[in-house]
């Protein structure tokens, strides 16, 4: 535990007086063209590999994807002309790859074809992207809705408890035949709340509690309350809904944003300690979580017991079968993973059929997306914007790490959707909104001219 030292934010450097800042919209357009091309070629390749002929609606598919990408591009061009040109193409490419992988897995499960549904969700996500970019002209508006958004987030997270569990987790709500994970949206709302709350209170947080952490009782309840609330919330979600991934994400997000706002390692240590206590308690008393940890420690235990390979073992087999170059789209056997092959384990299909090369490319795309988010945060000049950009980038990074690390045996497996790739409407829509917010933030960051300082 290091001593906590007070730290007030340094003044922001003045922006360079550059009247003709590059907009880079042409770069975005050509990158988008490449992204659409890759997705369409993948679509054709999978069709040829699995059915032996070019899929019938290939032209429609290509046209649809191109039009959607173009509309999104035009929205950015009109409403966020200074936005980072990498964000949209990366999202389109990942979403397109996800559709290709789901189409490929559909070929192995003719009884359960989901690519069409995923396509509709993706379209909805892109519509929401356009709406967010068009209607939210200044990200600082969101600050006003901090308490509203945290309230909505709590409601969204509590609702699924009253719905039946699916695969041992209460994270879905169902109505009108659609299943839906409200917890996905809560991520964004929480990031907004954290950003505005911390932007307002970071001085108080940074200057209190000079000594060991039992002196924390001296903190005013107003500051301490939300912290404890969040911790209880993450554990509560975990216990009530058995959603290990989401609680891990909330906690990680909270700790990262708290650190960004205050720079206090001590707080982080406290947070991690609380997390460890919570995780240990849950891991010990909650059989669902306990078995996940056992699985991670020994993925082949079920084989030795004679029960055949479990999901994680099948996932590792798939990654191993891919090797360096992969079996090629449509030539793998990742369907052996079973029912979650299209959702939690979609990365295993990518690993088996595109190989280490393809998987590395996909992970680097995520890395690029996250890096661009952080970049926007660094270039912004208001604390709320910085914290929001950092939070959103961290959400993407944590999601990728938690699920990719889980399916490759790096960390215990927790159910979570791979952003843009995995089957799951709520996840795709949520991530499109995240990208839309990052587009807005990066536009503000790169916009020339004196920006108003909005220091709390």
């Amino acid at each position: 535990m290091t001593a906590l030292t007070a730290k007030v934010t340094e003044p922001a450097p003045p922006p360079p007086p550059d009247a003709r800042a590059p907009k880079r919209r042409g770069v975005e357009l050509s990158l988008l063209f490449g992204a659409v091309l890759i997705a369409v070629l993948g679509h054709l390749y999978v069709g040829l590999a699995t059915t032996g002929h070019i899929p019938g609606p290939a032209a429609h598919y290509a046209a649809g994807l191109a039009v959607a990408a173009l509309v999104a591009h035009l929205a950015v061009r009109l409403f966020a002309p200074y936005a980072d040109p990498l964000l949209l193409p990366i999202a389109v490419l990942l979403n397109g790859l996800g559709l290709v992988l789901i189409q490929r897995l559909d070929a192995t499960t003719p009884a359960n074809v989901t690519a069409g549904e995923q396509l509709r969700w993706s379209a909805l996500g892109m519509v929401l992207f356009v709406l967010v970019v068009a209607l939210l002209r200044d990200h600082r508006v969101l600050q006003k809705y901090a308490y509203l958004s945290v309230a909505v987030a709590l409601v969204l997270m509590m609702v699924p408890v009253f719905f039946p569990a699916v695969n041992g987790a209460h994270i879905w709500i169902r109505f009108a035949g659609l299943s839906f994970q409200p917890g996905e949206f809560a991520k964004i709302l929480l990031a907004v709340f954290f950003a505005s709350y911390l932007a307002a209170n970071r001085t108080a947080l940074a200057l209190t509690g000079r000594t060991l952490f039992w002196k924390l009782r001296l903190l005013p309840g107003r500051v301490l309350g939300p912290i404890l609330a969040i911790w209880l919330l993450s554990v509560g979600v975990l216990v009530l809904e058995r959603d290990l991934g989401t609680s891990l994400l909330f906690f990680g997000l909270f700790v990262i944003m708290l650190f960004t706002a205050t720079g206090r390692i001590g707080w982080i240590a406290i947070g991690l300690l609380l997390a460890a206590v919570g995780a240990y308690a849950v891991g010990t008393f909650e059989p669902h979580v306990n078995s996940r940890v056992d699985d991670w420690l020994n993925p082949f235990a079920s084989i030795e017991r004679g029960d055949g390979p479990g999901q994680l073992a099948q996932s590792l087999f798939a990654f191993g079968a891919g090797g360096l170059l992969g079996a090629g789209l449509g030539h793998g056997q990742s369907f052996l993973i079973g029912f979650a092959a299209k959702s939690d384990f979609i990365l295993a299909t990518a690993g088996e059929e595109l190989g280490l090369v393809g998987l590395t490319a996909i992970l680097l795309l995520y890395g690029l997306l996250v890096a661009r988010g952080f970049r926007a945060g660094l270039a912004l000049r208001d604390p709320f914007g910085r914290l929001l950009a950092t939070g959103l980038a961290s959400i993407v990074a944590l999601q990728v790490f938690v699920i990719a690390g889980g399916v490759t045996g790096l960390i215990p497996l927790t159910g979570m959707a791979m952003p843009f790739l995995a089957q799951g409407g709520s996840s795709v829509v949520t991530n499109w909104i995240i990208v839309a917010l990052l587009v807005r933030l990066s536009d503000s960051a790169r916009r020339p001219g004196p920006a108003e300082e909005a220091e709390a």
């Binding site: 990262i256 082949f300 084989i303 191993g320 170059l325 690993g351 790490f401 045996g409």
Partner: protein, 486 residues
């Protein structure tokens, strides 16, 4: 705050690096281990993704493949499965492979590097060349003659070409259809359990894997050993053997089945199958000479592959004289596979040189390009050419005017030897009927075929069991098929 955002970014970069390193570990470092895990279905899926190559007889496939539309896509089918089961064995998705299906599996399943000119290309493209074919040395007409001759009775037939070692017929009866084991699922499991529980042992390849006391057919080995060792120089000279013959060192008397064996010559002893004379000659040759001769004919060799492994035929190497006497007439611990006894007849027919028997003539790629040709190997000399000539004369006499008249074929030279082997505790079991023979066209040309037949049918009346009645007609049918095919 800028600095802290940077730190967070570095932290996320660290997470990315951890992911990349771990993915590299899983996909490259651990990949081979995961691929070899028995619970990993991928090798099996890949193996059955393409139709298996064919096993051919007379250039026509006796196997096929069926698209099961299951995870393991192609299942093995057999045209006339029971007839060729001892040759092909089974190729089961549940129980693996046996016999030729096992021995030639790399070629048939398409993994043999000889199947493609550029193995590296298949490594890179993750493809497999189509399964290759294995052409057998079997002749369909002979196989069928042997199978119908046995007519479901327990027994076996092995026929070889003396000059080359080609196995021309390999029949075991009763047989089974390997197709019932091809797939997966409860039906296959049921069939497997049923076949294994069947008291008639239909899955036992009696021609290669079952050893029987060869009985009087072993007298050919004993006679050849005596001629080679110089113990007998004149086959027509009387041997001064009493009837019955008291086993040396004991008071046990060895009787003969027929009469006229007292003081008989070796020629007569072979012609009329005299136990007394041949037992005495075996003792005269001595333990060393007999074991050497048996070894030269192929006994006591556990390493024979055709390419499926063949059970070791046994002639004891450490015996008292009375045991040697019994062993020399194919009793006591002497045991032989039908293929081994066919090799004994073939060695006589081939002028004393024993050729290694083999079953696969050549393997080819699916488009017919050769992969490998069988090379004919010699197992060495079983006897001198002179001894072989004399033995041929003795064996011809058996068929012309001795115990083996049922094997005679008009217009052909046939030599043979009958056998009736006792077995079981105190010889209580029904004796096995044996017949070994060879046949060739008249006019001094070399014999074309050597056959061994064993019938162990427990349903026959004890008195009817004799090589001449039960086994010789089957041998004749097989030899006729061999001669008419030429």
């Amino acid at each position: 705050m800028i600095r802290y955002i940077r730190w967070c970014a570095y932290f996320c970069a660290l997470l990315l690096v951890a992911l990349l390193v771990n993915v590299g570990r899983v996909q490259v470092w651990e990949a081979a281990g995961y691929g070899a895990n028995p619970a990993n279905k991928r090798p099996a899926i890949e193996r059955y993704a393409e139709p298996r190559g064919e096993i051919t007889v007379d250039g026509r496939p006796v196997t096929g493949s069926r698209d099961s539309r299951q995870l393991l896509r192609y299942e093995r089918t057999y045209k006339n499965g029971p007839l060729y089961a001892p040759v092909t064995g089974f190729a089961s998705q549940t129980y693996g492979t046996s016999f030729l299906e096992r021995a030639e599996d790399p070629v048939l399943s398409g993994t043999d590097p000889g199947l493609s000119a550029f193995p590296l290309w298949y490594e890179l493209s993750r493809g497999r060349p189509g399964g290759g074919n294995a052409a057998t040395t079997i002749r369909a007409s002979m196989q069928l003659a042997a199978y119908t001759g046995l007519a479901g009775k327990r027994g076996a037939v092995a026929a070889v070409e003396p000059a080359t070692g080609k196995i021309l017929a390999l029949v075991s009866s009763p047989s089974y259809d390997p197709a019932v084991l091809s797939g997966t699922g409860p039906k296959v499991k049921e069939a497997w359990e049923k076949l294994n529980a069947d008291p008639a042992k239909p899955m036992l390849n009696r021609a290669l894997r079952e050893t029987y006391p060869p009985g009087s057919t072993f007298k050919i080995v004993t006679a050849a050993a005596a001629l080679d060792a110089g113990v007998v120089t004149d086959v027509d000279a009387p041997t001064e053997t009493p009837d019955p013959y008291p086993l040396p060192g004991t008071s046990t008397l060895l009787p003969n089945a027929g009469t006229g064996c007292a003081d008989a010559s070796m020629a007569d002893a072979v012609q009329w199958s005299c136990n007394t004379v041949m037992a005495k000659i075996g003792v005269q040759v001595g333990l060393r000479g007999m074991t050497d001769a048996a070894r030269r004919f192929g006994f006591n060799d556990g390493g024979l592959r055709v390419p499926a492994w063949v059970s070791r035929s046994n002639f004891d190497t450490d015996m008292s004289p009375d045991q040697l006497a019994l062993s020399s007439i194919g009793q006591f611990n002497t045991k032989a596979t039908p293929l081994q006894m066919a090799m004994v007849a073939a060695a006589v027919a081939n002028g004393g040189e024993l050729k290694a028997p083999y079953l696969v003539d050549r393997t080819t790629q699916d488009d017919g390009d050769p992969v490998r040709r069988a090379d004919q190997r010699s197992l060495g000399r079983a006897m001198t050419p002179l001894t072989a000539m004399r033995m041929q004369e003795l064996m011809v006499k058996v068929v012309e005017s001795g115990t083996g008249r049922n094997a005679a074929i008009p217009g052909a030279v046939v030599g043979g030897k009958t056998g009736t082997a006792q077995h079981g505790v105190g010889n209580a079991g029904t004796p096995y009927a044996w017949f070994i023979s060879w046949a060739g066209p008249r006019g001094g040309r070399p014999p074309a075929v050597a056959v061994a037949v064993v019938v162990e049918d427990a349903s026959a009346v004890r008195g009817d069991i004799s090589g001449n009645l039960a086994a010789a007609p089957i041998a004749r049918a097989v030899m006729e098929a061999a001669l008419s095919a030429r």
